[in-house]
């Protein structure tokens, strides 16, 4: 089935209308990430001042926070746009139109790109101007690191949306802690080797662990194992495909059971 750019743009336009008229939607796009950068910026300054090691914590920790928050913003860009349809009970209107699931998900991804870019710009501005984080230290690998996190953030967002579509509006509370659940395995602040052996195996199943290992490799050894990043990228693409397929299955289940038509109903069947 051909994908219509116009229908995808309709979803983007809807989100633009919502953002334009609502400061309560605009402020969260950058406020939490700004607070995180400020908090961790001061922590890294303090660690630099008390540490005997000649190790700069700013790129290692503040950079890690920035990358992690970027992934979380990408995820929330998807889920928040999806929740707008939950809150306004709009599924019947949307899915009784010619809109396909692929177009709907594409629209959510475009919205997420736009909203996460705002968060990223604020984080980069603060980290650079206030705390002196230089992105040159990451070299050309930065784009690859961001891409893997972006793809995984999209996957998490689709996963969270599928949860809510499957279990009803109250399942919204499953969404917000998702990044926190996986953060111990993502090795954001510590090397993979710090984890117990069995956790290392679990960590190797999620793409962010390869990203943060790669980031530390660049900072400490000025190199990153290409094969490691390739595995992280492949995993990110794999999860994206699996989650998109999973969302489609949940949608089909909702169409089979009538949940799309009566979405307010909370049914776990």
């Amino acid at each position: 089935m051909p994908v219509s750019l116009r229908r995808i743009c309709a979803l983007l336009l809807r989100q633009f209308y919502l953002l334009r008229g609502s400061p309560t939607r605009i402020v969260p796009l950058f406020s939490w990430v700004a607070i995180d950068i400020i908090l961790w910026g001061f922590i890294t300054r303090y660690l630099n001042s008390v540490s005997a090691a000649r190790f700069n914590f700013v790129p290692a920790m503040l950079g890690a926070v920035l990358l992690w928050d970027f992934m979380a913003r990408v995820m929330q860009g998807i889920t928040t746009a999806f929740l707008e349809d939950v809150w306004s009970r709009n599924f019947l209107n949307l899915f009784a139109s010619p809109l396909s699931v692929a177009e709907y998900l594409s629209g959510l991804v475009l919205i997420s790109i736009a909203t996460s870019a705002i968060g990223l710009a604020v984080m980069v501005g603060l980290a650079t101007l206030v705390f002196g984080l230089s992105f040159f230290v990451y070299g050309s690998m930065l784009a690859a690191l961001l891409l893997v996190l972006f793809l995984f953030g999209i996957s998490l967002g689709i996963f969270g949306s599928a949860l809510v579509l499957r279990f009803g509006p109250a399942a919204e509370w499953f969404i917000w802690p998702i990044p926190a659940f996986i953060s111990p395995l993502a090795c954001v602040f510590y090397p993979l080797a710090t984890l117990p052996h069995w956790m290392q195996w679990l960590a190797r199943l999620i793409p962010p662990s390869y990203v943060f290992e790669g980031m530390r490799g660049v900072l400490l050894h000025h190199k990153v194992a290409g094969s490691s990043l390739a595995i992280g990228s492949a995993l990110a693409v794999f999860y994206l495909l699996v989650m998109a397929r999973g969302f489609t299955s949940v949608y089909r289940h909702a169409v089979r059971t009538g949940l799309i038509a009566r979405y307010a109903a909370e049914t776990v069947t």
């Binding site: 336009l13 709009n90 209107n93 009784a96």
Partner: protein
């Protein structure tokens, strides 16, 4: 040539050639004309706009819709009647593609819904009291977004036309959530006609309207059907409205169609004075009617 066909011919000559420009009309102005018009279905209506064949929906052993078959022709307004839980909304949801039938087939303007969903739904639209447009967008924002979703050409002109048609121009920058229920219904109807559908599904479209507005809306929908050839499937619990608007009615109960016919002659044919009496009989004694129907 019947009145409606004549209007359709006149209307077709008033387009600008693209087929998308429609002359706006005021429902109020048309009311008197329509009240004098016979609610007769054109005999040369042509092939079906909607064809439903042996449609079933089973929810874990509960048969919500049980082998329903019917069709809606061009210009025709078909009333789908029945008590609460009869299967009307389930049937409409299946036609809208938001509920998968257990079995059976649905074709909209010749497009099989299961195989050509996008093409079928591009030719369809609906309005229902339980599906309000997002209240956090203005009238014009909602119409623009849904116009893009339905692939409406010359969208700006169409938006103006439907807003004028349903007296919404003064609300174009008002958020739908702050409109009265009657105004929200008019916005939903404007959205429903935005893409000039071939099939229009209306689930109790006048349920929240005052009598004067409801009469205007009925007139506007009838005029829309007569001018554009749209087929309309209409559910309502207001039997006077059904008798005034619908060319044909189907009585549903417990997922099956029990009766079908002209709403003006059907009551007498079954020994009842009014359509409302017949409705009550169907609602209370569906099994008796079904047995009688089977014997026939």
């Amino acid at each position: 040539m019947c009145t409606s066909c004549s209007w359709a011919r006149d209307f077709s000559t008033s387009t600008n050639g693209s087929g998308h420009e429609r002359l706006p009309f005021s429902a109020t102005d048309l009311r008197a004309t329509l009240e004098m018009t016979e609610t007769t279905f054109p005999s040369n209506a042509g092939p079906s706009i909607l064809s439903v064949s042996r449609l079933c929906k089973d929810y874990s052993g509960t048969q919500a819709v049980d082998g329903v078959s019917f069709s809606v022709g061009p210009h025709e307004i078909l009333g789908l009647l029945g008590p609460n839980g009869a299967g009307k909304t389930t049937t409409i949801n299946m036609i809208l593609g938001v509920l998968e039938p257990s079995s059976g087939a649905i074709a909209i303007d010749g497009c099989d819904l299961a195989r050509r969903r996008r093409q079928a739904l591009e030719r369809t639209n609906f309005a229902a009291v339980y599906a309000p447009l997002p209240g956090n967008l203005t009238v014009s924002q909602n119409l623009r977004v849904f116009g893009m979703l339905y692939g409406v050409r010359h969208l700006h002109e169409r938006m103006d036309a439907v807003m004028r048609q349903f007296d919404l121009l003064r609300f174009r920058d008002t958020k739908c959530g702050v409109l009265s229920s009657g105004e929200q219904t008019r916005v939903e109807l404007a959205k429903a006609m935005l893409n000039q559908p071939r099939l229009l599904l209306l689930d109790e479209p006048t349920a929240s309207l005052d009598p004067a507005t409801a009469r205007d809306i009925r007139a506007a929908i009838r005029e829309f059907a007569q001018q554009t050839g749209v087929g309309v499937l209409w559910t309502s619990h207001n039997m006077a409205e059904v008798a005034a608007v619908c060319h044909r009615v189907l009585f549903m109960s417990r997922g099956r169609i029990l009766l079908e016919g002209d709403p003006r002659t059907l009551p007498a044919a079954h020994g009842h004075a009014t359509l409302e009496d017949l409705f009550i009989a169907v609602a209370r004694e569906p099994l008796t009617l079904r047995r009688a129907q089977d014997e026939e």
